[in-house]
Symmetry: C2
Subunit: 240 residues, 2 copies
Protein backbone atom coordinates (compact mmCIF):
# COMPACT_ATOMS: atom_id res chain seq x y z
CA UNK A 1 0.00 0.00 0.00
CA UNK A 2 1.46 3.33 -1.03
CA UNK A 3 -1.15 5.61 0.57
CA UNK A 4 -0.73 5.66 4.34
CA UNK A 5 -3.62 4.36 6.39
CA UNK A 6 -5.82 6.97 8.01
CA UNK A 7 -6.89 6.19 11.53
CA UNK A 8 -9.95 8.00 12.80
CA UNK A 9 -10.06 8.06 16.57
CA UNK A 10 -10.49 10.61 19.33
CA UNK A 11 -7.47 12.70 20.18
CA UNK A 12 -6.15 12.72 23.72
CA UNK A 13 -6.89 9.19 24.81
CA UNK A 14 -5.79 5.65 24.05
CA UNK A 15 -9.22 4.06 24.14
CA UNK A 16 -10.13 1.42 21.60
CA UNK A 17 -7.99 3.16 19.02
CA UNK A 18 -4.89 2.00 20.87
CA UNK A 19 -5.44 -1.62 19.87
CA UNK A 20 -5.30 -0.50 16.26
CA UNK A 21 -2.29 1.76 16.84
CA UNK A 22 -0.31 -1.11 18.34
CA UNK A 23 -0.95 -3.29 15.28
CA UNK A 24 0.03 -0.48 12.90
CA UNK A 25 3.18 0.25 14.90
CA UNK A 26 4.29 -3.38 15.12
CA UNK A 27 3.70 -3.76 11.38
CA UNK A 28 5.68 -0.60 10.67
CA UNK A 29 2.78 0.52 8.50
CA UNK A 30 2.63 4.25 7.70
CA UNK A 31 -0.51 5.86 9.11
CA UNK A 32 -1.95 9.25 9.87
CA UNK A 33 -3.71 9.61 13.21
CA UNK A 34 -6.18 12.03 11.69
CA UNK A 35 -7.75 13.68 14.76
CA UNK A 36 -4.33 14.54 16.17
CA UNK A 37 -3.67 16.88 13.27
CA UNK A 38 -5.05 20.33 12.60
CA UNK A 39 -8.61 20.19 11.32
CA UNK A 40 -8.78 16.54 12.22
CA UNK A 41 -11.92 16.50 14.32
CA UNK A 42 -14.31 17.57 11.53
CA UNK A 43 -12.66 14.95 9.34
CA UNK A 44 -13.24 12.34 12.03
CA UNK A 45 -16.88 13.35 12.31
CA UNK A 46 -17.35 13.21 8.55
CA UNK A 47 -15.76 9.78 8.41
CA UNK A 48 -18.45 8.43 10.69
CA UNK A 49 -21.57 9.55 8.91
CA UNK A 50 -20.82 12.12 6.24
CA UNK A 51 -23.18 12.13 3.28
CA UNK A 52 -20.59 10.56 1.03
CA UNK A 53 -19.84 7.66 3.36
CA UNK A 54 -21.29 4.36 2.17
CA UNK A 55 -20.23 2.45 5.25
CA UNK A 56 -20.79 4.71 8.26
CA UNK A 57 -19.41 3.74 11.65
CA UNK A 58 -21.50 3.84 14.79
CA UNK A 59 -18.45 5.03 16.71
CA UNK A 60 -14.68 5.40 16.28
CA UNK A 61 -12.23 3.87 15.62
CA UNK A 62 -12.44 3.60 11.84
CA UNK A 63 -9.57 2.96 9.45
CA UNK A 64 -9.36 4.19 5.89
CA UNK A 65 -7.35 1.67 3.85
CA UNK A 66 -7.21 2.78 0.24
CA UNK A 67 -10.87 3.32 -0.58
CA UNK A 68 -12.12 1.00 2.14
CA UNK A 69 -13.42 2.52 5.34
CA UNK A 70 -13.45 -0.14 8.05
CA UNK A 71 -15.06 0.26 11.46
CA UNK A 72 -15.19 -1.71 14.73
CA UNK A 73 -11.91 -2.47 16.47
CA UNK A 74 -11.91 -6.26 16.10
CA UNK A 75 -12.84 -5.91 12.45
CA UNK A 76 -10.01 -3.48 11.75
CA UNK A 77 -7.57 -5.80 13.49
CA UNK A 78 -8.76 -8.80 11.51
CA UNK A 79 -8.08 -6.82 8.34
CA UNK A 80 -4.66 -5.55 9.45
CA UNK A 81 -3.66 -8.92 10.86
CA UNK A 82 -4.25 -10.68 7.55
CA UNK A 83 -2.54 -7.94 5.57
CA UNK A 84 0.59 -7.55 7.70
CA UNK A 85 1.39 -11.07 8.85
CA UNK A 86 -0.05 -10.51 12.31
CA UNK A 87 -2.58 -13.34 12.04
CA UNK A 88 -2.48 -17.04 11.20
CA UNK A 89 -2.94 -18.02 7.57
CA UNK A 90 -5.48 -20.80 8.00
CA UNK A 91 -9.19 -20.13 8.26
CA UNK A 92 -9.30 -21.97 11.57
CA UNK A 93 -6.42 -19.92 12.94
CA UNK A 94 -8.01 -16.66 11.84
CA UNK A 95 -11.35 -17.54 13.39
CA UNK A 96 -9.57 -18.43 16.62
CA UNK A 97 -7.65 -15.14 16.64
CA UNK A 98 -10.86 -13.24 16.01
CA UNK A 99 -12.63 -15.16 18.77
CA UNK A 100 -9.92 -14.19 21.24
CA UNK A 101 -9.94 -10.57 20.11
CA UNK A 102 -13.72 -10.47 20.62
CA UNK A 103 -13.24 -11.78 24.14
CA UNK A 104 -10.68 -9.05 24.78
CA UNK A 105 -13.26 -6.56 23.48
CA UNK A 106 -15.73 -7.95 26.02
CA UNK A 107 -13.48 -7.30 29.01
CA UNK A 108 -12.54 -3.88 27.63
CA UNK A 109 -16.25 -2.96 27.47
CA UNK A 110 -16.70 -4.19 31.02
CA UNK A 111 -13.67 -2.17 32.18
CA UNK A 112 -15.31 0.90 30.67
CA UNK A 113 -18.57 0.21 32.45
CA UNK A 114 -16.87 0.16 35.87
CA UNK A 115 -16.78 3.96 35.70
CA UNK A 116 -19.91 4.36 33.59
CA UNK A 117 -22.36 1.72 34.79
CA UNK A 118 -25.48 3.84 34.28
CA UNK A 119 -24.81 6.01 31.25
CA UNK A 120 -22.01 7.16 29.00
CA UNK A 121 -23.93 10.42 28.78
CA UNK A 122 -23.38 11.23 32.46
CA UNK A 123 -20.15 12.11 34.21
CA UNK A 124 -18.43 9.56 36.40
CA UNK A 125 -19.13 11.85 39.36
CA UNK A 126 -22.86 11.38 38.76
CA UNK A 127 -22.72 7.59 38.98
CA UNK A 128 -20.03 7.03 41.59
CA UNK A 129 -22.10 4.88 43.88
CA UNK A 130 -23.14 2.51 41.11
CA UNK A 131 -19.56 2.54 39.82
CA UNK A 132 -18.30 1.31 43.18
CA UNK A 133 -20.65 -1.67 43.10
CA UNK A 134 -19.88 -2.53 39.51
CA UNK A 135 -16.12 -2.13 39.98
CA UNK A 136 -16.20 -4.45 42.96
CA UNK A 137 -17.84 -7.16 40.88
CA UNK A 138 -15.37 -6.52 38.07
CA UNK A 139 -12.37 -6.83 40.42
CA UNK A 140 -13.59 -9.84 42.33
CA UNK A 141 -15.39 -11.85 39.67
CA UNK A 142 -14.70 -10.69 36.18
CA UNK A 143 -10.98 -9.80 36.01
CA UNK A 144 -9.98 -13.13 37.60
CA UNK A 145 -12.26 -15.04 35.24
CA UNK A 146 -10.93 -13.32 32.14
CA UNK A 147 -7.26 -13.55 33.18
CA UNK A 148 -7.71 -17.21 34.00
CA UNK A 149 -9.25 -17.75 30.58
CA UNK A 150 -6.44 -16.04 28.68
CA UNK A 151 -3.79 -17.78 30.78
CA UNK A 152 -5.44 -21.08 29.85
CA UNK A 153 -5.37 -20.10 26.17
CA UNK A 154 -1.60 -19.58 26.31
CA UNK A 155 -1.06 -22.81 28.28
CA UNK A 156 -3.15 -24.84 25.82
CA UNK A 157 -1.38 -23.46 22.76
CA UNK A 158 0.41 -26.52 21.42
CA UNK A 159 3.02 -24.39 19.70
CA UNK A 160 4.39 -23.64 23.19
CA UNK A 161 6.04 -20.40 22.19
CA UNK A 162 4.16 -18.39 24.77
CA UNK A 163 1.90 -16.69 22.22
CA UNK A 164 -1.87 -16.73 22.26
CA UNK A 165 -2.32 -18.16 18.77
CA UNK A 166 0.08 -20.47 16.97
CA UNK A 167 3.86 -20.11 16.95
CA UNK A 168 4.19 -16.45 16.05
CA UNK A 169 3.17 -13.03 17.25
CA UNK A 170 -0.36 -11.98 16.30
CA UNK A 171 -2.49 -8.91 16.87
CA UNK A 172 -4.10 -10.83 19.75
CA UNK A 173 -0.80 -10.73 21.64
CA UNK A 174 -0.50 -6.99 21.10
CA UNK A 175 -4.00 -6.53 22.46
CA UNK A 176 -3.31 -8.74 25.48
CA UNK A 177 -0.32 -6.52 26.20
CA UNK A 178 -2.58 -3.48 26.09
CA UNK A 179 -5.18 -5.17 28.27
CA UNK A 180 -2.59 -5.93 30.98
CA UNK A 181 -1.23 -2.39 30.77
CA UNK A 182 -4.71 -0.93 31.08
CA UNK A 183 -5.71 -3.12 34.00
CA UNK A 184 -2.43 -2.30 35.76
CA UNK A 185 -3.13 1.39 35.33
CA UNK A 186 -6.74 1.28 36.48
CA UNK A 187 -6.55 -1.45 39.12
CA UNK A 188 -2.96 -1.56 40.40
CA UNK A 189 -3.76 -3.22 43.73
CA UNK A 190 -6.02 -5.79 42.16
CA UNK A 191 -3.44 -6.65 39.52
CA UNK A 192 -0.62 -6.92 42.06
CA UNK A 193 -2.74 -9.56 43.75
CA UNK A 194 -3.75 -11.42 40.59
CA UNK A 195 -0.65 -11.38 38.42
CA UNK A 196 1.12 -14.27 40.18
CA UNK A 197 -1.70 -16.53 38.98
CA UNK A 198 -1.17 -15.72 35.29
CA UNK A 199 2.58 -16.02 34.62
CA UNK A 200 2.10 -16.88 30.94
CA UNK A 201 0.15 -13.70 30.30
CA UNK A 202 2.69 -11.56 32.09
CA UNK A 203 5.56 -13.17 30.21
CA UNK A 204 3.71 -12.46 26.97
CA UNK A 205 3.18 -8.86 28.04
CA UNK A 206 6.93 -8.52 28.61
CA UNK A 207 7.74 -10.15 25.29
CA UNK A 208 5.49 -7.71 23.43
CA UNK A 209 6.93 -4.71 25.29
CA UNK A 210 10.43 -5.74 24.23
CA UNK A 211 9.70 -5.89 20.51
CA UNK A 212 11.70 -3.13 18.81
CA UNK A 213 8.79 -1.41 17.06
CA UNK A 214 6.59 -1.56 20.14
CA UNK A 215 9.38 -0.40 22.46
CA UNK A 216 10.09 2.55 20.15
CA UNK A 217 6.39 3.40 20.00
CA UNK A 218 5.96 3.27 23.78
CA UNK A 219 8.86 5.71 24.12
CA UNK A 220 7.50 8.10 21.52
CA UNK A 221 5.03 10.95 21.76
CA UNK A 222 2.67 8.95 19.61
CA UNK A 223 1.86 6.85 22.69
CA UNK A 224 -0.67 8.92 24.62
CA UNK A 225 -0.33 8.27 28.36
CA UNK A 226 -3.21 6.56 30.13
CA UNK A 227 -5.57 9.15 31.56
CA UNK A 228 -9.06 9.62 32.94
CA UNK A 229 -10.65 10.24 29.54
CA UNK A 230 -9.92 6.73 28.33
CA UNK A 231 -11.38 3.32 28.99
CA UNK A 232 -8.91 2.39 31.73
CA UNK A 233 -9.12 5.08 34.41
CA UNK A 234 -7.30 5.30 37.70
CA UNK A 235 -9.96 6.07 40.27
CA UNK A 236 -8.44 4.71 43.51
CA UNK A 237 -11.89 4.23 45.05
CA UNK A 238 -12.66 1.66 42.34
CA UNK A 239 -9.56 -0.44 43.03
CA UNK A 240 -9.51 -3.14 45.72
Amino acid sequence: MTTPYQLYYWDGLQGRGEFVRLALEEAGAPYVDVARHKGGMPKLKASLDGDKVDHPSFAPPALLAGDMLIGQTTNILMFLGAKHGLAPRSQQGRLWANQLQLTIADIVAEAHDTHHPVSTNLYYEDQKKEAKARARDFREQRIPKFLDYFEGVIQRNRARGGYAVGARLSYVDLSLFQLIEGLRYAFPKTMARLEPSCPGLIALRDKVAARPNIAAYLNSKRRIPFNESGIFRRYPELDG
Copy 2:
Protein backbone atom coordinates in the same frame (compact mmCIF):
# COMPACT_ATOMS: atom_id res chain seq x y z
CA MET B 1 -20.97 -30.95 5.29
CA THR B 2 -22.36 -34.36 6.17
CA THR B 3 -22.05 -34.15 9.96
CA PRO B 4 -24.67 -31.81 11.38
CA TYR B 5 -23.42 -28.75 13.18
CA GLN B 6 -23.51 -28.89 16.94
CA LEU B 7 -24.64 -25.71 18.63
CA TYR B 8 -23.64 -25.26 22.25
CA TYR B 9 -25.88 -22.82 24.01
CA TRP B 10 -27.98 -22.66 27.16
CA ASP B 11 -31.31 -24.40 27.04
CA GLY B 12 -34.45 -22.43 27.83
CA LEU B 13 -33.58 -19.05 26.43
CA GLN B 14 -32.95 -17.37 23.10
CA GLY B 15 -30.02 -15.25 24.18
CA ARG B 16 -27.05 -14.84 21.88
CA GLY B 17 -27.56 -18.37 20.58
CA GLU B 18 -30.66 -17.18 18.75
CA PHE B 19 -28.64 -15.16 16.26
CA VAL B 20 -26.83 -18.37 15.32
CA ARG B 21 -30.05 -20.41 15.23
CA LEU B 22 -31.62 -17.97 12.80
CA ALA B 23 -28.69 -18.29 10.40
CA LEU B 24 -28.74 -22.09 10.61
CA GLU B 25 -32.50 -22.16 10.05
CA GLU B 26 -32.43 -19.79 7.09
CA ALA B 27 -29.62 -21.84 5.54
CA GLY B 28 -31.54 -25.06 6.12
CA ALA B 29 -28.37 -26.45 7.67
CA PRO B 30 -28.81 -29.54 9.87
CA TYR B 31 -27.79 -28.87 13.46
CA VAL B 32 -28.14 -30.32 16.92
CA ASP B 33 -28.98 -27.89 19.69
CA VAL B 34 -26.89 -29.87 22.13
CA ALA B 35 -28.06 -28.58 25.51
CA ARG B 36 -31.70 -29.19 24.62
CA HIS B 37 -31.09 -32.92 24.47
CA LYS B 38 -30.61 -35.37 27.30
CA GLY B 39 -27.14 -35.15 28.80
CA GLY B 40 -26.55 -31.95 26.89
CA MET B 41 -25.48 -29.67 29.71
CA PRO B 42 -22.31 -31.59 30.63
CA LYS B 43 -21.47 -31.65 26.94
CA LEU B 44 -21.96 -27.91 26.77
CA LYS B 45 -19.71 -27.41 29.78
CA ALA B 46 -17.02 -29.67 28.31
CA SER B 47 -17.16 -27.78 25.01
CA LEU B 48 -16.17 -24.59 26.78
CA ASP B 49 -13.07 -25.68 28.64
CA GLY B 50 -12.74 -29.44 28.71
CA ASP B 51 -9.17 -30.75 28.86
CA LYS B 52 -9.26 -31.85 25.24
CA VAL B 53 -10.45 -28.52 23.90
CA ASP B 54 -7.74 -26.58 22.08
CA HIS B 55 -9.88 -23.52 21.53
CA PRO B 56 -11.92 -22.95 24.69
CA SER B 57 -14.75 -20.42 24.69
CA PHE B 58 -15.13 -17.84 27.42
CA ALA B 59 -18.91 -18.25 27.19
CA PRO B 60 -21.54 -19.86 24.94
CA PRO B 61 -22.52 -19.91 22.15
CA ALA B 62 -20.00 -22.15 20.43
CA LEU B 63 -20.48 -24.08 17.21
CA LEU B 64 -18.81 -27.35 16.34
CA ALA B 65 -18.36 -27.50 12.57
CA GLY B 66 -16.56 -30.68 11.60
CA ASP B 67 -13.51 -30.59 13.84
CA MET B 68 -13.57 -26.82 14.26
CA LEU B 69 -14.99 -25.41 17.46
CA ILE B 70 -15.88 -21.76 16.92
CA GLY B 71 -16.87 -19.33 19.66
CA GLN B 72 -18.22 -15.78 19.89
CA THR B 73 -21.51 -15.01 18.15
CA THR B 74 -20.23 -12.61 15.49
CA ASN B 75 -17.39 -14.99 14.67
CA ILE B 76 -19.76 -17.96 14.25
CA LEU B 77 -21.98 -15.86 12.00
CA MET B 78 -19.05 -14.75 9.88
CA PHE B 79 -18.16 -18.41 9.36
CA LEU B 80 -21.73 -19.51 8.60
CA GLY B 81 -22.41 -16.52 6.39
CA ALA B 82 -19.46 -17.31 4.13
CA LYS B 83 -20.28 -21.01 4.05
CA HIS B 84 -24.00 -20.74 3.31
CA GLY B 85 -24.32 -17.76 1.02
CA LEU B 86 -25.50 -15.46 3.78
CA ALA B 87 -22.68 -12.96 3.34
CA PRO B 88 -21.22 -10.95 0.47
CA ARG B 89 -18.38 -12.53 -1.49
CA SER B 90 -15.98 -9.61 -1.58
CA GLN B 91 -13.58 -8.86 1.25
CA GLN B 92 -15.00 -5.36 1.54
CA GLY B 93 -18.55 -6.71 1.73
CA ARG B 94 -17.61 -9.24 4.38
CA LEU B 95 -15.84 -6.68 6.51
CA TRP B 96 -18.87 -4.43 6.26
CA ALA B 97 -21.23 -7.24 7.26
CA ASN B 98 -19.00 -8.10 10.20
CA GLN B 99 -18.83 -4.43 11.23
CA LEU B 100 -22.63 -4.24 11.30
CA GLN B 101 -22.93 -7.51 13.20
CA LEU B 102 -20.46 -6.18 15.78
CA THR B 103 -22.60 -3.08 16.19
CA ILE B 104 -25.66 -5.27 16.71
CA ALA B 105 -23.65 -7.16 19.36
CA ASP B 106 -22.98 -3.82 21.05
CA ILE B 107 -26.64 -2.92 21.43
CA VAL B 108 -27.45 -6.49 22.50
CA ALA B 109 -24.88 -6.20 25.30
CA GLU B 110 -26.37 -2.87 26.32
CA ALA B 111 -29.88 -4.37 26.32
CA HIS B 112 -28.59 -7.04 28.69
CA ASP B 113 -27.07 -4.47 30.98
CA THR B 114 -30.40 -2.67 31.43
CA HIS B 115 -31.44 -5.44 33.81
CA HIS B 116 -27.94 -6.26 35.06
CA PRO B 117 -26.11 -2.94 35.33
CA VAL B 118 -24.09 -3.88 38.41
CA SER B 119 -23.35 -7.58 38.11
CA THR B 120 -24.36 -10.66 36.16
CA ASN B 121 -23.71 -12.55 39.40
CA LEU B 122 -26.59 -10.83 41.20
CA TYR B 123 -30.31 -11.20 40.59
CA TYR B 124 -32.21 -8.45 38.82
CA GLU B 125 -34.14 -7.88 42.06
CA ASP B 126 -30.88 -6.92 43.76
CA GLN B 127 -30.05 -4.18 41.26
CA LYS B 128 -33.48 -2.82 40.40
CA LYS B 129 -32.74 0.77 41.25
CA GLU B 130 -29.62 0.89 39.11
CA ALA B 131 -31.49 -0.97 36.37
CA LYS B 132 -34.13 1.73 36.25
CA ALA B 133 -31.52 4.42 35.70
CA ARG B 134 -29.64 2.42 33.09
CA ALA B 135 -32.84 1.43 31.26
CA ARG B 136 -33.93 5.03 31.08
CA ASP B 137 -30.70 6.01 29.40
CA PHE B 138 -30.99 3.02 27.08
CA ARG B 139 -34.56 3.94 26.07
CA GLU B 140 -33.98 7.64 25.67
CA GLN B 141 -30.47 7.80 24.28
CA ARG B 142 -29.16 4.49 23.08
CA ILE B 143 -32.06 2.73 21.33
CA PRO B 144 -32.86 5.81 19.22
CA LYS B 145 -29.19 6.24 18.32
CA PHE B 146 -28.75 2.61 17.26
CA LEU B 147 -32.05 2.44 15.34
CA ASP B 148 -31.21 5.65 13.56
CA TYR B 149 -27.83 4.21 12.65
CA PHE B 150 -29.21 0.98 11.22
CA GLU B 151 -31.98 2.84 9.39
CA GLY B 152 -29.26 4.98 7.81
CA VAL B 153 -27.34 1.87 6.78
CA ILE B 154 -30.37 0.54 4.89
CA GLN B 155 -31.06 3.92 3.30
CA ARG B 156 -27.45 4.31 2.16
CA ASN B 157 -27.27 0.85 0.65
CA ARG B 158 -26.93 1.60 -3.05
CA ALA B 159 -28.40 -1.76 -4.01
CA ARG B 160 -31.76 -0.35 -2.82
CA GLY B 161 -33.29 -3.75 -2.11
CA GLY B 162 -34.02 -2.92 1.48
CA TYR B 163 -31.28 -5.17 2.86
CA ALA B 164 -28.49 -4.05 5.17
CA VAL B 165 -25.63 -5.23 2.95
CA GLY B 166 -25.68 -5.48 -0.83
CA ALA B 167 -28.57 -6.78 -2.91
CA ARG B 168 -29.28 -10.03 -1.07
CA LEU B 169 -30.22 -11.34 2.33
CA SER B 170 -27.30 -11.73 4.74
CA TYR B 171 -26.93 -12.88 8.32
CA VAL B 172 -26.96 -9.21 9.31
CA ASP B 173 -30.60 -8.94 8.18
CA LEU B 174 -31.53 -12.00 10.25
CA SER B 175 -29.89 -10.43 13.28
CA LEU B 176 -31.62 -7.10 12.72
CA PHE B 177 -34.92 -9.01 12.68
CA GLN B 178 -34.02 -10.58 16.02
CA LEU B 179 -32.96 -7.22 17.44
CA ILE B 180 -36.30 -5.63 16.55
CA GLU B 181 -38.19 -8.61 17.97
CA GLY B 182 -36.20 -8.47 21.19
CA LEU B 183 -36.63 -4.73 21.63
CA ARG B 184 -40.35 -5.05 20.95
CA TYR B 185 -40.60 -7.72 23.61
CA ALA B 186 -38.60 -5.88 26.25
CA PHE B 187 -39.59 -2.29 25.51
CA PRO B 188 -43.01 -2.36 23.80
CA LYS B 189 -43.98 1.21 24.65
CA THR B 190 -40.62 2.60 23.63
CA MET B 191 -40.68 0.74 20.34
CA ALA B 192 -44.26 1.81 19.56
CA ARG B 193 -42.97 5.37 19.85
CA LEU B 194 -39.77 4.85 17.87
CA GLU B 195 -40.75 2.54 15.03
CA PRO B 196 -42.34 5.21 12.82
CA SER B 197 -38.89 6.78 12.54
CA CYS B 198 -37.26 3.65 11.12
CA PRO B 199 -39.52 2.37 8.35
CA GLY B 200 -36.70 0.68 6.45
CA LEU B 201 -35.75 -1.42 9.44
CA ILE B 202 -39.32 -2.45 10.11
CA ALA B 203 -39.85 -3.36 6.46
CA LEU B 204 -36.70 -5.47 6.64
CA ARG B 205 -37.96 -7.15 9.81
CA ASP B 206 -41.19 -8.06 7.99
CA LYS B 207 -39.32 -9.33 4.97
CA VAL B 208 -37.19 -11.64 7.13
CA ALA B 209 -40.23 -12.89 9.07
CA ALA B 210 -41.90 -13.86 5.77
CA ARG B 211 -39.04 -16.00 4.50
CA PRO B 212 -40.26 -19.60 4.35
CA ASN B 213 -37.52 -21.14 6.48
CA ILE B 214 -37.73 -18.40 9.07
CA ALA B 215 -41.53 -18.45 9.17
CA ALA B 216 -41.47 -22.23 9.66
CA TYR B 217 -38.89 -21.89 12.42
CA LEU B 218 -40.82 -19.19 14.24
CA ASN B 219 -43.87 -21.46 14.23
CA SER B 220 -41.94 -24.47 15.51
CA LYS B 221 -41.07 -25.60 19.01
CA ARG B 222 -37.45 -24.98 18.16
CA ARG B 223 -38.13 -21.27 18.63
CA ILE B 224 -38.01 -20.73 22.38
CA PRO B 225 -40.36 -17.90 23.38
CA PHE B 226 -38.83 -14.73 24.79
CA ASN B 227 -38.67 -14.95 28.57
CA GLU B 228 -37.06 -13.39 31.61
CA SER B 229 -33.97 -15.62 31.50
CA GLY B 230 -32.82 -14.16 28.20
CA ILE B 231 -31.18 -10.95 27.14
CA PHE B 232 -34.41 -9.18 26.23
CA ARG B 233 -36.65 -9.23 29.30
CA ARG B 234 -40.06 -7.72 29.79
CA TYR B 235 -39.88 -5.83 33.04
CA PRO B 236 -42.60 -3.17 32.64
CA GLU B 237 -40.86 -0.85 35.11
CA LEU B 238 -37.90 -0.62 32.70
CA ASP B 239 -40.02 0.43 29.72
CA GLY B 240 -40.93 4.07 29.12
